[in-house]
């Protein structure tokens, strides 16, 4: 007997809003979090705009001790703690006392890489022969599992506490992994999510690959244009999203507020074959992933009310729409609504999947499909597949029972999840 799994808590630290209230207002009113970054201009970046959460020193004091803050140089840990602790508290769950451990609760919190600023400082000191000056936190701020370790210690989790990493699929993959653990009865609840550092050392490699837009340095909020004909590269982002996944039995027995049920999902890889490469997806595998997620969720594709796509604002958006359309066997006006949070946040990389899942669940909860911003110029190849009305440019009021979310990543990896409003 498998457990049904529900979402009972959420937290978010996004470029366009920190905390559920601010973020919810932002996504439904079309607020962009993309801004000009003088530092990127000074460093000769082609793309000088980015999405970065506006975290203040005052806010950090709520999540870290003065000692932890003293030499904290890992923006990913900052974002991840804000989102993760908020999600836990949003679920009405307790922080364990000093002498108690919760063996039923675990964490899977993903990253791409962590603590780039800290690592940079450590490299300089090491190269100067001052390795003994690195202090005690270089390792914990730069190990990938640093964020799950910080969260695990804050909460007192005693179940599996780990970190996953699959490039831009990371955030959604953590949801699937946590879901499987609760469904199989290995944990009662799992805090899942992901975070991504901000800054030039994170974004520079993408700038060098020429996959970032360079044409909107004077007009930052217009830079991220998923599905538009004039999209010419993504806007780099950062942040964190977090969700508490819990068995339905546990949620009901403690009277928890339930946002949605996780119906199922799928993860796979295109093997970097058949059109798939290190950086581009094998479309057959993408479609296989979406179809498997739908089948695992025991729904029909026409039951899907809205899709939150990966849709990064590169030239790949039409291919993604084609893959959704062929996998779901839905075209034209039969295709559901589809949107991309990246139009407002930029591409938050490893954090994208979790932040966008939080946005998707807020859509389910509020019966609203958030509008894409920077629209009006839908790519002709997309117009040939789905109706213009499927891509809303303003928030639409609509009863949403089932929502689909997918993320795709370098390494030709894919993940798709299906969420449903809880019904008896």
């Amino acid at each position: 007997m498998k457990n049904r799994v529900v979402i009972t808590g959420m937290g978010v630290c996004a470029p366009n809003g920190i905390g559920l209230a601010q973020f919810s207002d932002a996504i439904f009113s079309g607020k962009s979090g993309v801004t000009f970054h003088q530092q990127l201009a000074d460093l000769n970046f082609g793309c000088q705009i980015a999405g970065q959460p506006d975290v203040t020193p005052e806010l950090l004091k709520k999540y870290f001790t003065p000692l932890q803050l003293r030499d904290l140089q890992s923006s990913g840990i900052e974002y991840g703690m804000i989102a993760g602790v908020d999600a836990w508290k949003d679920a009405g769950l307790n922080i364990m006392d000093k002498d108690a451990v919760d063996y039923d609760s675990g964490i899977i919190f993903g990253v791409s890489l962590l603590g780039a600023e800290k690592f940079r400082s450590a490299i300089y000191q090491t190269d100067e022969g001052k390795v003994r000056r690195l202090g005690s936190t270089t390792v914990i701020q730069t190990m990938a599992s640093g964020i799950s370790a910080y969260l695990g210690g804050y909460i007192g989790c005693g179940n599996q506490v780990t970190t996953n990493s699959s490039a831009c699929t990371t955030g959604l993959e953590s949801v699937l992994m946590g879901y499987e653990r609760v469904r199989n009865g290995d944990a009662v609840r799992m805090l899942v999510g992901s975070c991504n550092d901000s800054g030039p050392y994170i974004w520079g490699g993408f700038d060098a690959m020429r996959v970032l837009t360079k044409k909107y340095n004077e007009n930052p909020t217009a830079g991220s244009r998923p599905m538009q004909e004039d999209a010419n590269g993504f806007v780099p982002g950062s942040g964190a999203g977090a969700l508490v996944l819990e068995s339905l039995d546990s949620a009901l027995s403690r009277g928890a507020r339930i946002y949605a049920e996780v119906l199922g999902g799928a993860v796979n890889s295109g093997g970097q074959r058949m059109g798939g490469t290190m950086t581009a997806p094998n479309s057959e595998a993408v479609q296989h992933c979406i179809r498997t997620a739908v089948r695992n969720s025991h729904i029909d594709s026409q039951d899907i009310d809205t899709i939150n796509g990966h849709l990064t604002s590169t030239g790949m958006c039409p291919t993604e729409i084609k893959n959704w359309s062929e996998a779901l066997e839905l075209r034209g006006k039969d295709f559901p609504y589809i949107n991309s949070l990246k139009s407002m946040t930029g591409h938050c990389l490893a954090a994208a999947g979790s932040i966008e899942t939080v946005a998707t669940i807020l859509e389910l909860k509020n019966n609203k499909v958030f509008g894409n911003i920077n629209t009006g110029n839908l790519h002709p190849d997309i117009k040939g597949i789905i109706d213009d009305s499927c891509v809303p440019s303003h928030t639409v009021n609509k009863t949403i029972c089932i929502a689909a979310k997918a993320s795709f990543g370098f390494g030709d990896v894919n993940c798709c999840m299906i969420f449903k409003k809880l019904t008896a």
């Binding site: 001790t65 003065p66 000692l67 003293r70 000093k98 000056r133 202090g135 005690s136 936190t137």
Partner: protein, 81 residues
Amino acid sequence: MNTKHYDELKNIIKIYLPEDVSVDDIKPTSHLTQELNINSANLVDIVLDVEDHFDITIEDDEIEKMETVKSAIEIIEAKVL
């Protein structure tokens, strides 16, 4: 023991105290990890702060002897005086 050095060391140590240990709990005889409950990983940070503040270098074998506030002061004073 020079009270100035003692107060300065106390100022360094207090940053590393866990939340349930007060700065008033620091006594010359206090054991850093066993009584003040300072995380042993933070001892290396205390040593770095001490080195910066007193402009001295503390060797690895001396760190091992820095068990109490008093023994730390003795190591410091042997170098600054």
